[in-house]
């Protein structure tokens, strides 16, 4: 019974808390004209400053697997929002939405992570944003 109550509350908190400040300008690193949405298996999580990074093996239409890196908010900010390292774990299948890095490499901001059961977590910092959420410019 407790789980039924706590989980919706937690999910509400994770998805409605305003975005937080990160150390960099979104515009300096990511291209808001290149939204990405990918599904794959988490291969590594770096819970480090100034931003967390998590890596996902994504299988293309041709069957080729490419490892993508996604940048989120600062660990301290995420933890104070109730998002702990265990939220994203190696081996999980997740869908990530964000914007591709300006240099065209296989990196992006990982703004919104959706799990197979439909739960969604906003993992980005302030000037990071998820496609379609209207934040920033």
């Amino acid at each position: 019974m407790q789980k039924r109550v706590v989980l919706p509350l937690l999910l509400t908190a994770l998805t409605t808390i305003p975005p937080l400040q990160a150390h960099h300008s979104f515009a300096a690193e990511f291209d808001d004209k290149k939204p990405v949405k990918m599904t794959g298996v988490v291969t590594k999580v770096e819970w480090q400053n100034p931003h967390i990074w998590f890596y996902v093996d994504v299988k293309g239409d041709d069957g080729k697997v490419t490892n993508w890196g996604f940048s989120g908010g600062a660990p301290g900010q995420l933890m104070r929002r109730g998002i702990a390292k265990k939220v994203i774990q190696e081996g999980m299948t997740i869908t990530v939405e964000g914007f591709r890095s300006k240099d065209g490499s296989n990196n992006a901001n990982g703004a919104r992570v959706t799990f197979p059961d439909g739960r969604s977590v906003f993992t980005a910092g302030a000037e990071d944003r998820a496609p379609g959420d209207g934040k920033g410019k």
Partner: protein, 245 residues
């Protein structure tokens, strides 16, 4: 009616003065964990950091226009923090992270989680240091004005004033090396500090101007404390050029 209002203000002031935490010396005690300073209305950033409200700015001096310096496309100019350069003061103070203050008779230590900004503010009556290089955080000294702590900071490098560029990427507010800031900190009530920040930058503005912010006490954050912030640890995409995985 006016008398009643004055009486109410007087009673409220006495009540606040009696209920605030105090040190052994009887000074207001600001030791504790807090949220970052938040604006009480006015201009809001397109980010969660606090920014100054341009309506409060004093008029620019002739020649002060470079205060609104356009981005030039060079990321080292446009966002030096992307290379783990410091935010400086006052910008770093307004970043959306937790802060912890430690107060002794002779010092107030302000630690901000963002970049682990640490300001050591002498309260022992000393003067500003002489013959030192300008710095990102300036040279602060504090003194008491009744129950208000007044911190005067000088000797800054020219650097970013606040995070306004997240709101308008084409503008980057810079302060000059003539900046002097005055912070006035006092307990507004048992849970909130009044934080009045005066910007006195005679190379840019015709006169000094000030904005009041509110700082909320967060004792519930004491248990976790501040988290580490070492920017160099994994800054993978400085200036938009991502490095190896």
């Amino acid at each position: 009616m006016k008398t009643l209002c004055l009486l109410f203000v007087a009673i409220t002031s006495v009540s606040v003065a009696q209920n605030i935490p105090r040190t052994a010396e009887g000074k207001p005690n600001f030791s504790g964990t807090y949220e970052w300073p938040k604006a009480m209305g006015g201009e809001q950033c397109r980010c969660s950091a606090t920014i100054f409200d341009r309506k409060l700015f004093a008029p620019l001096k002739p020649g002060g226009e470079p205060f609104l310096e356009p981005h030039n496309g060079d990321p080292r100019h446009d966002e030096p923090r992307d290379f783990c350069m410091p935010a400086g003061f006052p910008s770093g103070m307004l970043s959306a992270n937790a802060m912890q203050f430690f107060q002794t008779k002779d010092y107030l230590i302000m630690v901000h989680e963002f970049q682990r900004m640490t300001r050591v503010i002498p309260l022992d009556g000393r003067k500003h240091r002489e013959d030192i290089e300008p710095s990102f955080y300036g040279d602060p000294v504090g003194h008491w004005d009744g129950d208000t702590l007044v911190i005067e900071t000088t000797n800054f490098k020219r650097w970013g004033l606040d995070d306004y560029f997240y709101t308008d990427p084409n503008q980057y507010r810079m302060h000059s090396d003539a900046l002097k800031t005055i912070e006035r900190i006092s307990w507004k009530n048992r849970n909130q500090l009044s934080y009045i920040l005066t910007i006195d930058d005679p190379k840019i503005f015709t006169k000094a101007w000030a904005q009041e912010f509110s700082i909320t006490s967060k004792p519930e954050w004491d248990a976790a404390g501040l988290y580490e912030y070492v920017c160099e640890e994994n800054n993978r995409c400085p200036g938009g050029k991502c490095q190896g995985k």
